[in-house]
Every structure is written in structure tokens, then in C-alpha cells.
């Protein structure tokens, strides 16, 4: 005979304001098999837990139903309390009176009746619970970091410094990400390369980090602690072991007019190229789409000049399989292409450029060696206009959210311009100045007050060319919506920060969720900002939302700690909520008839065939067997099984039917 305890929680007023908790407890107390029933203000508090523990000990309870909040919140708390009192933790069930009842209904008779029903079905269910034990799985203590921007770099270094192995993959020929393109960084104006390159070198030299550039994730299988990843190492067309990075090939390559991605199209590169001087690794790749040899079958100049014979035209992509225990996604962001604003004339007027292009102009390693010169004729612009929110905060045509970084980098750009072009005039058109952050507001004030940048609060409706000037037509909303026109020499658009192209596919490969803007979704907006909904996969940097460098780095260190915590144990425990194929005494062995429909149904390839042999080693029967390491407890196989031979532990067919019957008052 079961001896079940029912513990009804008020959750302060969260439940008791709409549900008559005393009546729920009293009614439950009258059910068959219920030995103890009580209501209490905070069941999760120490006294509340003690109430449960004492009842288990004193009444010799065989099952517990806690009627409180969602099991997502407190299931571990109550299971642990049961375990401490000597009851198997899986003999504890939770009825969700809060999210499923009190929060969604008005106070009233029917609400209390529903609460009673929720308790009742779990009382019946728990009668069929069995003691279960957690499953132990080993942990592969190697992390995969995807994306080698500042976030990926920081996460890799932090994990590697805890003594664990890291595999870092970067799709481009060099690590560094957007930060490597930046000139100086807000709010301190320190040179981006100067603070970044030491980290890049550290990654390359760290004994615990294996770096694969020009590499992307092909596919992923497995689960926390036990992932298997396939990585595509795109062909660089060189033998990296032989290449010394002398750079001779890049100086001799005849294809010299390819717009450089690193310089945002403002400079040119060759077909065999190293994206920038401080690249890590500092070895070239051949861009096959633009290489004369791959297009026309002739050239091979690089092969001729290479002193070490490192060029490999026939090199193919390599698919590599690695085992890893955790993943950090750090694939960053991109900026929206500004062509969707025909009224701003990007693409039509060469001197309308993006913020990233301005970074390259202001950067000592850029096409103008750090001088602000306009692309059309190389002149130094005497008047420059910066447009904030180009696409941001624009639900009609762009994106509804604030890109967050632009207000700050615009202030930086205007400041850099004023420092470099003495006597120049700069204007910023903005909607609001969003400068929340340590020393950020002060930074913007410095731009306005010390450097004399003219901030105009209003939007720009059109940019057009007239007499060699770019006429920026806008409005000043602080001057009673007065139209303003500025005849500028150059215009910089702060284009919205958006998710990478292909972020969706990557999310699908990784089985993590993404938000409506295709940024990767965190597991909880406040309490789990670096976790994804998939255990063992973490987020760092601007792949989750537009983020500046300090935030990206903080997130990366946070993700690294999560990985280190995971790797601090040799084994992981998993809930035993997995499928099992029933086994019986000979001569039946199992009701499974070996049709193996379940094998094809299982989305996790967790079902294998097992041969049952007699003492002489002859096969008597072939039946299905679930690999507890792979099974995710989704239940698909249960639905497929014709002979009802598979059950999910903790959610057996018997338990489910019992719940339904209880709800129909058949007990």
C-alpha cells in the first residue's frame, strides 16, 4: 500500500491569492494512499523542506507530491530533500499550481477545483513511480570554440588557462574578428590592434589551444560532455608546414585588384593573400574564386616564386572529426548592408561610407595609413556628417532594436576626425544618445564639449550630390523641427548591427535556438545569459546581440567558467528519463519482436540491435536496445512501438494512463 505525502505550497501569495490551498491539502488528504497532507507558505524554504523530510521519516512515506511551482524551478530542491530523508528522489513529483493554475486564472471555486485535479493526477501517478538512479556519463574535457573574434579568443584563452584543451575554429584566414579592423576603441581610445594582437599571438602559442583557421563546423552529434563534431578545413592551397610566411607570393601575384574584405573594400588585395599584416596565422590562402589559375588554368606565379615549394593547387577540403565535451559559440555579428537606403545614396556616392569603412580610414594599418581621406579623390574632408541609427530603431524599413554600439563608435569617429583634421567640422545626426556604460557618457560629452562635435538631434531624409558636395538634408527636432542642410564632403552611416548570414543554419546544426533577429538565444535573459537551451553549449560576444568589446569579453570569460565547471568533474549525471526496452524472464526475454521501427524513428540514433543468445552462444532473438548515453528521452520510439515494448522511465504508458484516468475521475 502506498503512503503518499502531499505538500501544498502558497508561494507567498502567488498561489494562495487565487487557490484555496488549505482546501487542496484537505481534499488530497482524503485520497486513497495519501498518508499525510499539509499546506505551507513557502515549501522551498528550509522549514518547508524540513516539513517534507520529517514527514518522510515519521510517516514512512513511499511517495511525495509537492504542489507548488514549475518543476523547472524547484524540482532539484525537492528531490534533494527527499533523497536526504532516504526516499529515492524520483519518488517525488511536482504539481504545478502556480504557472499552470494560479497565475493564469482568477480567484474562484473553479481555480481551486483545477488545483485539486492537478494534485490528484500526480497522487495517482506517483503510485506507479519506481526508484530510479541517475545515469553517469563520462566527460570529454576538450572544448570547441567557434569563431575567433575577441569573444572566441578570450573564451579559448580562459578555458585553456584552466588546463583544458581547446579547439578554436575560425572561418576566415585569420583570427581577430571585427576588433582587428577597428582603429581606436571607446571609451579609452586605445589602439585596437595593440590590445588585440598580443591575445591573438597567445592563442597561436598556447599549448592547450589548437587553432584551425579557414575552418567551419560541418555537423554536430551527441550531447553535453560527449559531442562529436565534424570540422571542414577549407583548402588554403598551401602546405602550412612548409610555408614560412615570407610573403613573396603575395607580392608577385598578378591579380591585385580584389577589394579587400579587411579594408571593407577601400583597399585591394591579391588572390593569394594574408588579410592583414598582423594576421594569425601569418600565412597566405588562395582565394580560388579570384585566382587566375583556378579560373583559366594558367599562372602559378606563386608556385614559381615560393622558396619552399609550399603552394598546393590540388589541395582539397579536409573533414576532421573531433570529440569534445562543450562548445562556445562566438561567431559575432555583421553590419547591415546600407544599400537598402536608396535615399542615402550608399553605393552611388563613393564618399558615403559605413562606420567600419571609417575605422579602416582612421586606422594606421588602413588604406590611407590613418589619414582621413575620402574615397573618391583622396581629399581630406573639411566637413563630415555621421548618421546614427542607419537602419536601427526603424521598424518600418530596418530593424526595430537599438544596435547599441553605434552611439559610442560615432562619438569616437567624430573625435578621431577632430583630432586628425584640425579645423574640420563634424556633425552627428542622432535620435537619442545611448551612452550607458562605465565612462561612456563622459566620453560622448568629451566629443561634444572638448572636441566641438556638433550633435544635431534629428533624422536625415536624403543625401544628394550638388556641386561636388554631399547635401545632407535633415531636421533639427530641438529647433522646432527646423529643416537643416549640411553640405558635407563625406558622410558616415552607422549601419545596424545584425546577425551573421547563415546564423540560422549554424543554430540548426548545433540544435540551439535563435531569436526573431537570428541572434543566438540565451537560456534565460537575466539568469542564464551565456547558456543556450542546449546543455553544454554556451554563448559569447556579439553572436547573441550587438555587444561592445568589454561586454563580449565579459561574456566570454563567463562562458569559459561554465565550461571549466563542466570539465571539473570526470563524470556527469543525467536524469534517468530515458527509454528502456522491457526485459522478461526466458523464454520470452522481451515483448520486442525485433521489427526495429524504433531504430529508424529515433532522432538521436540511440537505439541499437541486441542479440539474445542461449548458453551455447546461439542467437535466440534480436531485440532493440537503448543506449542510455545517447537517449534524450524524447519518447518518439514509444509512439512507434507496435508491441508497447518501450517505455520512458518516469513517464511510462501505465503512469500516463493513470493520470488521464485520474483526471476523468475514474479512480
Amino acid at each position: 500500500m502506498s503512503k503518499i505525502g502531499v505538500f501544498v505550497c502558497h508561494c507567498g501569495e502567488n498561489i494562495s491569492a487565487t487557490v484555496d490551498c488549505a482546501r487542496v491539502a484537505e481534499t488530497a488528504g482524503n485520497y486513497d494512499g495519501v498518508a499525510f497532507s499539509v499546506d505551507y507558505k513557502y515549501m522551498c524554504s528550509d522549514p518547508g523542506q524540513n516539513l517534507i523530510k520529517n514527514a518522510i521519516k515519521e510517516q514512512g512515506l513511499t511517495g511525495v507530491v509537492v504542489a507548488s511551482c514549475s518543476p523547472r524551478m524547484h524540482e532539484p530542491t525537492f528531490r534533494k530533500a527527499c533523497a536526504e530523508a532516504g526516499l529515492n528522489p524520483f519518488m517525488c513529483e511536482m504539481a504545478n499550481l502556480r504557472e499552470h493554475c494560479s497565475w493564469v486564472h482568477e480567484k474562484g471555486e473553479a481555480t481551486t477545483e483545477k488545483a485539486i485535479d492537478l494534485v490528484r493526477i500526480l497522487v495517482e501517478k506517483v503510485k506507479y513511480n519506481h526508484s530510479l538512479n541517475e545515469i553517469k556519463v563520462p566527460v570529454t574535457k576538450t572544448a570547441l570554440v567557434i569563431g575567433g573574434g575577441i569573444a572566441g579568443i578570450q573564451a579559448s584563452l580562459d578555458i585553456a588557462n584552466t588546463g583544458h584543451k581547446v579547439i578554436l575554429i575560425e572561418k576566415d584566414p585569420s583570427i581577430g574578428g571585427h576588433m582587428s579592423q577597428l582603429s581606436e576603441t571607446f571609451p579609452t581610445l586605445d589602439c585596437s590592434q595593440c590590445i588585440l594582437t598580443p591575445r591573438m599571438v597567445e592563442v597561436a602559442q598556447h599549448p592547450n589551444i589548437t587553432l584551425y583557421t579557414y575552418a567551419e563546423l560541418e555537423s554536430l552529434e551527441g550531447f553535453i560532455g560527449n559531442f562529436k563534431a565534424k570540422i571542414r578545413r577549407k583548402s588554403k592551397s598551401i602546405d602550412e608546414k612548409l610555408c614560412t610566411g615570407c610573403g613573396l607570393c603575395t607580392t608577385k601575384c598578378p591579380v591585385k585588384k580584389i577589394p579587400s574584405e579587411f579594408n571593407e573594400g577601400l583597399g585591394k588585395r591579391t588572390a593569394i593573400y594574408v588579410p592583414f599584416p598582423q594576421a594569425v596565422p601569418n600565412k597566405p590562402v588562395i582565394d580560388r574564386a579570384n585566382c587566375t589559375y583556378y579560373i583559366k588554368g594558367k599562372c602559378k606565379v606563386c608556385e614559381i616564386v615560393c622558396p619552399t615549394g609550399a603552394i598546393r593547387f590540388d589541395q582539397e577540403d579536409q573533414i576532421m572529426e573531433v570529440e569534445i565535451g562543450a562548445i562556445v559559440i562566438a561567431t559575432g555579428f555583421t553590419v547591415k548592408q546600407p544599400d537598402f537606403f536608396p535615399e542615402y545614396g550608399y553605393g552611388k556616392f563613393p564618399d558615403v561610407i559605413t562606420g567600419l569603412q571609417f575605422e579602416r580610414l582612421a586606422s594606421a594599418s588602413g588604406p590611407t595609413l590613418g589619414e582621413i581621406r575620402r574615397p573618391s579623390d583622396g581629399k581630406i574632408p573639411e566637413k563630415i556628417v555621421f548618421l546614427a541609427c542607419a537602419g536601427s530603431r526603424d521598424p518600418a524599413k530596418g530593424i526595430p532594436y537599438c544596435s547599441k554600439i553605434c552611439c559610442m563608435y560615432i562619438a569616437k569617429h567624430a573625435m578621431l576626425y577632430q583630432h586628425k583634421v584640425h579645423g574640420g567640422k563634424s556633425y552627428v545626426f542622432y535620435m537619442d544618445i545611448r551612452a550607458g556604460g562605465k565612462q561612456y557618457e563622459e566620453f560622448v560629452r568629451r566629443a561634444i564639449e572638448d572636441d566641438g562635435v556638433n550633435y544635431v538631434r534629428g533624422r536625415v531624409s536624403r543625401i544628394y550630390e550638388k556641386n561636388g558636395k554631399l547635401i545632407v538634408a535633415g531636421v533639427d527636432t530641438l529647433l522646432n523641427a527646423m529643416p537643416v542642410e549640411i553640405d558635407a564632403d563625406m558622410v558616415v552611416l552607422a549601419t545596424a548591427g545584425v546577425a551573421n548570414e547563415g546564423a540560422e543554419e549554424l543554430a540548426q546544426k548545433l540544435h540551439v535556438s535563435y531569436d526573431p533577429y537570428k541572434f543566438f538565444a540565451e537560456a534565460h535573459p537575466k539568469l542564464k545569459p551565456v547558456e543556450t537551451n542546449t546543455a553544454g553549449i554556451f554563448l559569447a560576444g556579439a553572436c547573441q546581440a550587438p555587444r561592445d568589446i568589454p561586454e563580449s569579453v565579459a561574456m566570454a570569460s563567463g562562458a569559459a567558467v561554465k565550461v571549466a565547471a563542466l570539465f571539473s568533474k570526470d563524470e556527469l549525471t543525467r536524469e534517468p528519463i530515458i527509454a528502456v526496452v522491457n526485459r522478461q524472464a526466458p523464454p520470452v526475454y522481451s515483448s520486442c519482436v525485433g521489427c526495429f521501427l524504433c531504430v529508424s524513428a529515433c532522432p538521436y540514433q540511440a537505439i541499437e540491435k541486441e542479440e539474445i543468445k542461449n548458453r551455447n552462444g546461439e542467437v535466440i532473438k534480436s531485440i532493440a536496445k537503448v543506449n542510455p548515453g545517447l537517449c534524450q528521452g524524447c519518447g518518439t520510439c514509444v509512439a512507434f512501438c507496435r508491441t508497447k515494448s518501450i517505455d520512458i522511465q518516469g513517464y511510462t504508458n501505465e503512469q500516463m494512463y493513470t493520470e488521464v484516468m485520474a483526471l476523468l475521475n475514474e479512480y
Binding site: P342, E343, A396, R462, Y464, E465, K466, I471
Partner: protein, 280 residues
């Protein structure tokens, strides 16, 4: 073939030449434009600034009458009328309660079955496919196509052309042998109704339009709206005094320009009615 025709007030008054050229063009292509019987004012700017239901009831009555007359498509050359009719159709389709209230007050059946075509859509659908071969005097001029505020806005409702850098008039003019120029004032406001109450503002706003067209070498400005036409043409004195120079670039309705290209008579196209002499 017969299509419905809603002239609206302007085409019966200050911009008779627009009506004349639309009808002449239709005739040249064997299209019968049948005027909606007993039509009323679309409400223009006044109605929707004062009373929403009235501003919807007026266009709805026009659409109901067109339905009653058995018309499937109606051509609405005035950009403002076109906007009012299209916005009304959209609002009634979105809100059935509003739709019943409005139709009830009109006392006429309304099903929303009539399609509304602006002049560009009309030309695109019925004239340009048969234009080739008919062009006897290519309109070989540099033209600045001016769309004004209403022809392509609001995009969510009209779903026609690009709102910030429209191309449809340019494409039509290209087919008639013209060279459309790229310029900055395609959709800037001409001053609209301030024409009467603050003519000097129209001088300034329309002045920028005409000034830019001239600076970029346009020989003609092409329009598809009676209001735009009257501001750019009739208010040329105000424009010239704002600009401090005398600009005599003529302003043609697109239908007049195409009419000239296919060799229609200048009088039939109403060119003599313009304030700025049409020299092209």
C-alpha cells in the same frame, strides 16, 4: 476594351489637359475609358483631416458606383485621388465593422471588387506593352521624373514601386525614347495645398525641385499628379523669384510626353494650357 475612369475634381478644372491627354492616349490604343456616373469628390486632404468616417465614405461611394456600373478596374490619374481610394479600400478590408458603418451611411452596396489603377499602373499594363512600333517621334530629351509625395506612399498600402527612390516613371519614359536623369528631388514635397495659402513656401519647396532638375540638365520635368503640376508650372513665377533666375523648363504629364512620342496632336494633349510654354 473598357476600363472605368475617375477624373476627380482637378481633372475637370485646373488640370483639364491631364484628362485630355489620358483620354487621347487611351483612344489611340483603343481603350474606352468610361467615366463613373454621378461621381463625387474623393474628400482630398480636407476630409481626412476632419472626419475619418467621412473621409472613407466619400471614396467608398465612388467605388460602389463603379461596382454598380459593372466596372472591374478604374483608372485614377490624380495621385491624391488614387491615394484616397486605395487607402480606403485597404482600411475597409482590414476592419469589417468600419466597412459596414461606412457602406451603411452611403446606402450603396460595396464589395471591394474594383481595382484602382494609378496612371503609371495603367500605362504599364495597357499602353507600354503595345508601345513599340507606335513611337513615331521618340521623346528624345533629358527628363527629370518627379513622383511627389503621394504616388508611391505609403508603401505598406500601395505596394507599388520603391518609396525612396522610385523608378516606374523613369522606366516608362525610357521606353518612350527619353533619357531620365538621376536626381535628388523625386519624392520631395512640392508644397501641395500651400499653393493658395502660402505661395511663397511653394516657391521655396518647388524651387528646389525645379532648381535641381535644371542643374542636372533636365529639359522637361515629368509628373503624374495635378497638384504637383500646378505648383511646378502655375507657380513658376514664385519659383523663379525664390531662385532669383528665370527657369523655363516645361512640366509635362507623363501622358502628354508619351502622347507626343506616338505623334498625337499637341492640342489634343492640351499642351497649350500650360503656364510655362511647352517648347519640347
Amino acid at each position: 476594351m473598357t476600363l472605368g475612369f475617375y477624373p476627380g475634381c482637378s481633372l475637370k478644372g485646373s488640370s483639364r489637359e491631364y484628362a485630355e491627354s489620358v483620354l487621347a492616349l487611351a483612344k489611340a490604343f483603343d481603350i474606352n475609358l468610361e467615366e463613373i456616373n454621378d461621381w463625387n469628390c474623393c474628400g482630398a486632404t480636407a476630409a481626412h483631416n476632419m472626419n475619418k468616417e467621412l473621409s472613407l465614405a466619400l471614396p467608398t461611394r465612388i467605388l460602389s458606383l463603379a461596382e454598380k456600373q459593372g466596372l472591374k478596374e478604374i483608372v485614377v490619374p490624380c495621385a491624391a485621388c488614387y491615394s484616397r481610394l486605395t487607402v480606403t479600400k485597404h482600411e475597409l478590408a482590414e476592419d469589417s465593422a468600419l466597412c459596414s458603418a461606412v457602406t451603411e451611411s452611403n446606402g450603396l452596396e460595396y464589395t471591394g471588387s474594383v481595382s484602382v489603377l494609378n496612371v503609371v499602373q495603367f500605362l504599364d499594363k495597357y499602353i507600354t506593352p503595345n508601345l513599340e512600333g507606335k513611337v513615331v517621334k521618340p521623346f528624345d530629351h533629358k527628363v527629370a521624373c518627379y513622383y511627389g509625395c503621394l504616388l508611391v506612399r505609403p508603401h505598406e498600402i500601395l505596394k507599388f514601386d520603391r518609396e525612396e527612390d522610385p523608378q516606374s516613371l523613369d522606366t516608362l519614359m525610357l521606353k518612350s525614347g527619353a533619357t531620365p536623369i538621376d536626381w535628388a528631388f523625386k519624392t520631395e514635397c512640392c508644397g501641395a495645398g500651400l499653393s493658395v495659402s502660402r505661395t511663397s513656401s511653394v516657391g521655396r519647396l518647388s524651387g528646389k525641385i525645379i532648381g535641381d532638375a535644371k542643374d542636372r540638365g533636365a529639359e522637361t520635368v515629368i509628373v503624374a499628379c495635378p497638384m504637383c503640376h500646378s505648383n511646378l508650372d502655375m507657380r513658376r513665377d514664385a519659383i523663379n523669384s525664390y531662385l532669383g533666375e528665370k527657369i523655363d523648363i516645361p512640366v509635362l504629364y507623363i501622358t502628354q510626353a508619351i502622347g507626343l512620342a506616338i505623334g498625337l496632336d499637341r492640342k489634343e494633349l492640351g499642351l497649350q494650357r500650360h503656364f510655362v510654354k511647352v517648347t519640347v
